[in-house]
């Protein structure tokens, strides 16, 4: 909403607003449909041969009672939780990323780059290798590690307030430290524990169940509305500290609240599926490009996150030869490509990252 528009005739303003709303609606609808398409594809293709009709029948079996134990296990016990894990964790990562990028005013900043998921990783690897935990214990440690790291970064970056650059740089320092912890633990562990830790570190949707998705789902239910409420002040913050202060927003309060929400989203997503790299990084910028210069980017970013995660998982499962790879391998590669695009685009438009 540029200042110029307030001088434009009322009719033109209405037309512009209507056009923007239509674009927003189209983007959201398009992303939702695409997500549904990818989800359907993932639900119907797999190593367990299952005709589409049987997939549908299994999906409906809780209502129709028309059950086939083996098919239902695959559809309801394996594929559905996997798709849901992709959608939910992708949405959480996407939201978390866009909040970080907006608050830190830097498209390169996201929880995986600024060290929060690295902190979660170090805690999880500690749980796997030293405490010999698996499953829920690892998730709880990862969650705690993420929150603790975020608090440390914020605390260390605080010096009469927090500047985005300081936050980013201290995050990178913390990431290097957490990385050293992981490297050290790798040399002290039995090789199979290292394997287990490595596959967790890469981020995988393999073996997702509804039980281990529940915490993430509950977290989303609580945090997404919170993010939506706070996002109004977020949009003010986008104009910069001085402008925001002039508009009367309590900058530090909103920033802290939003960062907390973003950290928790990243923490719960990491706990559920591991630190799937780059989803948080790319979801926001993709959504922003689809949406154009204005409009609330939260919902589209969440949808992009879920879509990217599930599409990447489909590629990792079915399109890379005999070996099924964890989803994080594909999102990592995707992230690299997007990064170069982003910087090239910034180069063209003369805007730095």
């Amino acid at each position: 909403m540029s200042a110029a528009s307030s001088f434009a005739p009322v009719g033109a303003v209405v037309a512009v607003r209507r056009r923007l709303q239509r674009r927003y609606g189209l983007v959201v609808l398009g992303l939702a449909l695409l997500s549904l398409a990818v989800a359907s594809l993932s639900m119907s293709i797999g190593d367990y041969p299952l005709p589409l009709a049987d997939v549908v029948r299994s999906l409906l079996s809780p209502f129709t009672g028309n059950a086939d134990a083996a098919n239902d296990f695959i559809v309801l016990g394996v594929r559905l939780p996997r798709v849901m894990a992709g959608l939910l964790s992708g949405a959480a990562f996407g939201l978390s990323g866009i909040v970080f990028q907006t608050i830190l005013r830097n498209p390169l900043a996201s929880p995986d780059i600024v060290g929060i998921t690295t902190g979660a990783s170090a805690a999880a690897v500690l749980a796997i290798i030293i405490f010999k935990w698996s499953g829920l214990g690892v998730s709880v440690m990862a969650c705690g590690g993420a929150v603790l790291t975020a608090l440390l970064i914020y605390g260390l970056a605080w010096r009469n307030g927090v500047t985005p650059y300081r936050l980013v740089l201290i995050g990178i320092g913390m990431a290097a430290l957490a990385g050293a912890v992981v490297s050290y633990l790798f040399t002290r562990a039995r090789i199979m524990e290292v394997q287990e830790a490595l596959s967790w570190l890469t981020g995988s949707l393999n073996g997702s169940t509804f039980e281990n998705l529940t915490p993430l789902a509950v977290a989303l239910l609580v945090l997404v509305p919170l993010a939506a409420v706070l996002s109004r002040s977020l949009r003010t913050l986008q104009m910069g500290d001085d402008a925001a202060r002039a508009l009367g927003t309590r900058v530090e309060f909103s920033r802290l609240g939003l960062i907390l929400v973003a950290v928790l989203l990243a923490a719960f997503a990491t706990a559920a599926v591991g630190p799937v790299s780059f989803v948080a990084f790319i979801a926001g910028p993709i959504a922003r490009r689809l949406l154009g210069p204005s409009g609330n980017v939260l919902l589209p970013a969440a949808l992009v996150g879920g879509l990217v995660t599930n599409a990447a998982d489909f590629v990792a499962q079915h399109m890379l030869g005999r070996n099924q790879l964890p989803v994080g391998v594909v999102t990592g590669a995707l992230g690299a490509v997007f990064l170069i695009y982003l910087l090239a685009a910034a180069h063209r438009s003369g805007r730095g990252g």
Binding site: G46, D47, Y48, P49, A70, F73, I74, G77, V78, K132, S134, G135, T187, R188, R190, M192, Q195, E196, S199, S204, N206, G207, N323, Q324
Partner: protein, 317 residues
Amino acid sequence: MSLKTLAATAFATLLLSVPGAAFAEAWTYADGSGTTVTVNHVPTRIIASQDAAAGLIPLGIRPVGIYADSAIADAKALEGLDLTGIEIIGEAWGEVSIEKAAALKPDLIVGEWWPLDNTWSGGADVVNALKPLAPITGPKQGASIVTLIEDYEKLAASLGADLAAPEVAADKAAFETARDKFKAAVATKPDLSALAVWAGTDALYVAATEGSSELMDFASWGLKLIDPVIADDRGYWETLSWENIDKYQPDLILVDNRSKITMETAKAQATWTTLRAAAAGQVTDWPAFWLRNYAAYATELDKLSAAIAAADVSIGD
């Protein structure tokens, strides 16, 4: 579909399945974790861990699927076994494809019970993935590979294997010959001491006898193994800095042969030859943790017997 036909179909299914369960011969097995598994027929579609597959295949029980801890090519236990037609459902620790596993329609999962870790081979993630498909069972890893192989014999027999088949019997006979030769070789050199090691670029890891079933076998057949002072958190290894590897001076060094890199790493260290046995070339393979059948055991024992026979016992302390 009317309610009537639905009910009729359901009833018919019930009628067909109940007698099937009642009349087929039920199969039970008391496994290494201390529980007894029951299947309502003799299982024929088995998914096995790499180790269980290495135990069962030579006895004539072919699994339909195998999950391994690494790429199949690196799985020492499976070396030399014919795996044609067997689906590989996992090639990393803790990872299996549930869909591939389900598509095999298994009626039994066979792994090994790890009493120290309180889990089945493959770890909790694999167990959780496979448990919904079929009961999981298998022998316990313990104090002897021979006992473990005998447990596989019992399991295979209950699954319908013919242990008297010529090739199966020949494997066992070859093992018994090799074992007797090993005992004889050890008996002629009562003073020979041996040390089992794994070599990394960071340090030399010296194995405790009770940490490995085959070392327990060797000891029970008379081989004098040097037992290290266990000082680290790994439980069964003593970590020796490459500066301190001459702490023990055995007559014969056994080097973990799961990967050939281990021997290369050992030889590349400047101080390796400060072990007098290494300088004298009295080094042979230690089939560490992977032996699961008589044929492989016989081959490895013959190598050891030859090394023992050739060893000069005045080398070590």
